[in-house]
């Protein structure tokens, strides 16, 4: 018996922490109490992205978008809307300044978004493999095992222009090709889910909301490169993501999509989960691989790159969660389809975690090349309290500040790097006129100084010294000399650090100095300030 109505309850971490789990139970109970169980399907889904307004409940096909729903609202919601067909207006999201009750397509938060990676988040039940399969899930794998050769897969990826979404932006097809072309008795596939940037949670949401997309692309990667084993390295602080992934792995195996003789062919692949203990540096690929091996997570010199010599010295493809999540869609719809979206050098979409001083914070997916202004003002709904926009911090502790003058920059890997920031994992923190840039820089340096593994001198000593100088300036004891020294040390760190952590750690301080130098000058006591600098 098919259902007539669908009640989708967000069960991402953000909504769960506002009692979405109780809400879900209560709605189920009320649906049963009103004899609606054969008519209304109540579903647990992944993140809708509009976390600011959680817990979120969406009722279909009416497209009623309920926000901030509490377990106490369940009775009214079920009785009024699902039984009697009268939407509960007080719980429906109203956009500020818009008179009518909005359905989801009219909400500005969603209008400029384009969902490829998050296509299933907030739409399917992540704990039910058949829902994923019904949404063209495992079509990519099916094509691989029936019609595409490994070279065909690499060609599709090349056509797609997909680049690493972990921040570096290395073309994915090249990585896969390197590993494929190496002769070895054993190869590995690793997915980096050690999401560490403060405020970033795109990988968590994908694992929670659509875990099979990661499993599917790992099996595809194994098929393409000749690997038979994969690891997902996920931080232990993500219990829900881990649980959903475990459920998904068990189901995939049960359905013959993982394990021995996948889909009746002679291809076999297995996946294991490895938990990270929360060290930021373990997001760096060489440190991550050592951590999987059970050793202390410290970066090692590259080359050789993991693609050639990785886990236990064997060729290893290592990709970020978001990169992997795009691959099933690319193999289903074709690389050329994916490449239609985006800019000349950066194709497809990017997921950002939009936080800070914006009305609508949450998880968004936008085409590459979108203007920052659109993100902050249209999707984000602008700055609360009529405050003035000051900057966006992108790329987390590795990124930098983007100021008002650059709001119309079309975002891609190259433009962000040119601004002294970087794509990073996709954190976007909006700041208003009340935020002190000296403080923001200090916050990030505190973070990276603490997370430095201590192996190389530039990062271990340099980070600490910049932090010390920033603290000195913030407390009103700085000198002009200190500003110059921050820049000197920063440049040295950038060029001489061993890994990405040290190379990018000074970015928040350097870009703050580049765009908001006056603020640092103002923090220096007038008696020691020289106008010459």
């Amino acid at each position: 018996m098919p259902y007539a109505n669908f009640c989708l309850v967000c069960r991402g971490t953000a909504c769960e922490s506002s009692k979405a789990d109780q809400l879900y139970d209560e709605i189920k109970l009320q649906v049963a109490a009103n004899s609606l169980s054969d008519q209304v399907q109540v579903l647990r889904t992944g993140c809708f992205g509009f976390c600011e307004q959680g817990p979120i409940v969406k009722v279909l096909p009416d497209e009623a978008f309920y926000v901030q729903v509490s377990p106490d609202d369940a009775e009214e919601l079920v009785h009024e809307h699902l039984l009697k067909g009268r939407p509960v207006e007080r719980l429906i999201y109203r956009e500020p300044g818009v008179h009518a009750l909005g359905n989801i397509e009219q909400i500005s938060f969603y209008q400029k978004q384009f969902r490829i990676v998050l296509r299933n988040c907030g739409f399917i039940d992540p704990e039910n493999i058949e829902e994923y399969i019904a949404r063209e899930g495992y079509v990519g794998l099916e094509r691989c095992l029936s019609e595409l050769s490994p070279d065909d897969v690499i060609r599709e990826l090349e056509d797609s222009g997909l680049r690493g979404r972990g921040g570096g932006g290395f073309p994915t097809w090249k990585k896969w090709k390197f590993t494929k072309d190496v002769q070895a008795d054993q190869k590995y596939i690793v997915v980096n889910a050690d999401e560490g940037d403060p405020g970033a949670y795109m990988d968590r949401s994908i694992l929670e909301g659509d875990p099979h997309s990661i499993i599917e692309s790992m099996v595809i990667a194994g098929y393409t490169t000749g690997a038979d084993t994969g690891y997902v390295y996920v931080r232990a602080e993500y219990p829900l993501a881990i649980k959903r992934l475990q459920t998904a792995l068990a189901q995939a195996e049960e359905y013959g999509l993982l394990g021995d003789n996948i889909l009746g062919t002679d291809f076999s692949f297995r996946i294991e989960i490895r938990l990270g203990a929360g060290a930021f540096v373990c997001g760096e690929e060489t440190a991550l691989l050592l951590s999987i091996q059970g050793e202390r997570g410290m970066p090692v010199q590259r080359p050789p790159y993991p693609a050639v010599k990785g886990l236990w010295g064997k060729p290893t493809v290592i990709n970020n969660v978001e990169t992997m999540a795009a691959i099933p869609a690319i193999l289903t719809k074709g690389g050329k389809w994916f490449a239609k979206v985006g800019t000349e050098t950066s194709k497809g979409t990017k997921v950002f975690a939009l936080t800070g001083k914006v009305r609508n914070s949450g998880l968004i997916e936008v085409p590459m090349g979108i203007k920052l202004r659109d993100i902050v003002y249209n999707i984000g709904g602008g700055i609360p309290g009529d405050k003035k926009f000051k900057a966006v911090q992108s790329g987390g502790p590795s990124g930098g500040m983007i100021s008002y003058e650059n709001l119309d920059t079309e975002i891609d890997y190259e433009t962000l790097t040119a601004l002294g920031s970087m794509m990073g994992s996709g954190g976007l923190i909006v700041m208003d006129e009340d935020d002190s840039m000296v403080d923001v820089a200090r916050f990030y340096l505190e973070f990276t100084a603490e997370e430095s593994c201590g192996k190389c001198v530039p990062c271990r000593v340099g980070g600490k010294q910049i932090l010390h100088l920033l603290e000195k300036i913030a407390s009103g004891n700085g000198t002009m000399e200190d500003i110059k020294r921050i820049e000197e040390i920063g440049e040295t760190m950038k060029t001489t650090s061993l890994c990405g952590l040290g190379k990018t750690a000074p970015n928040p301080a350097l870009s703050a100095l580049r765009f908001f130098r006056q603020e640092f000058m103002d923090a220096i006591p007038p008696e020691v300030r020289e106008d010459a600098v």
């Binding site: 009416d62 009697k84 067909g85 003789n261």
Partner: protein, 141 residues
């Protein structure tokens, strides 16, 4: 029930079987809208059966572009159960006395065949209700 490991062929079949149950949620792809009057008198006259049959028929014909909505009484209590059908290139009509048998005819004739089921047309939606969104009295406080 233990799931047996699938072959390529079985995966394709499972996907075909399950596709409708998930796609029916995707409101972005809907072009046809059917509203079933689920007021008290509608339910008393069998609107629940009407709704169930409708949903089952849509699945049978794999019509994922049809959105099924429920509302209160459409104001035609003498003709319950009632059903309003909106779709491109067809006049919007309200059908009355829609038994499961009539539902099947509406789906095959109206939705698929673009042909009205004449003897069950009872009304058209009133213009004032249609435009209520920007009506000065409704809208202006």
């Amino acid at each position: 029930m233990a799931q047996k490991k699938m072959t390529l062929e079985e995966l394709r079949k499972l996907r075909e079987d399950k596709k409708h149950s998930v796609e029916v949620r995707d409101t972005g792809s809907k072009t046809v809208e059917i509203t079933v009057g689920m007021g008290t008198s509608g339910i008393a006259s069998g609107a629940k059966e009407t709704l169930k049959t409708l949903v089952a028929e849509l699945e049978k014909h794999q019509l994922t572009h049809v959105a099924v909505r429920q509302s209160g009484g459409l104001g035609l209590e003498h003709a319950e159960p009632t059903m309003e059908v909106r779709m491109p290139d067809m006049p919007t009509v309200i059908y009355g006395q829609v038994s499961p048998e009539i539902v099947r005819r509406i789906v095959s004739h109206h939705i698929i065949g673009h042909e009205l089921v004449d003897e069950h047309i009872y009304d058209r939606p009133a213009a004032d209700i249609l435009d209520a969104g920007d009506h000065p009295i409704v809208d202006g406080e």
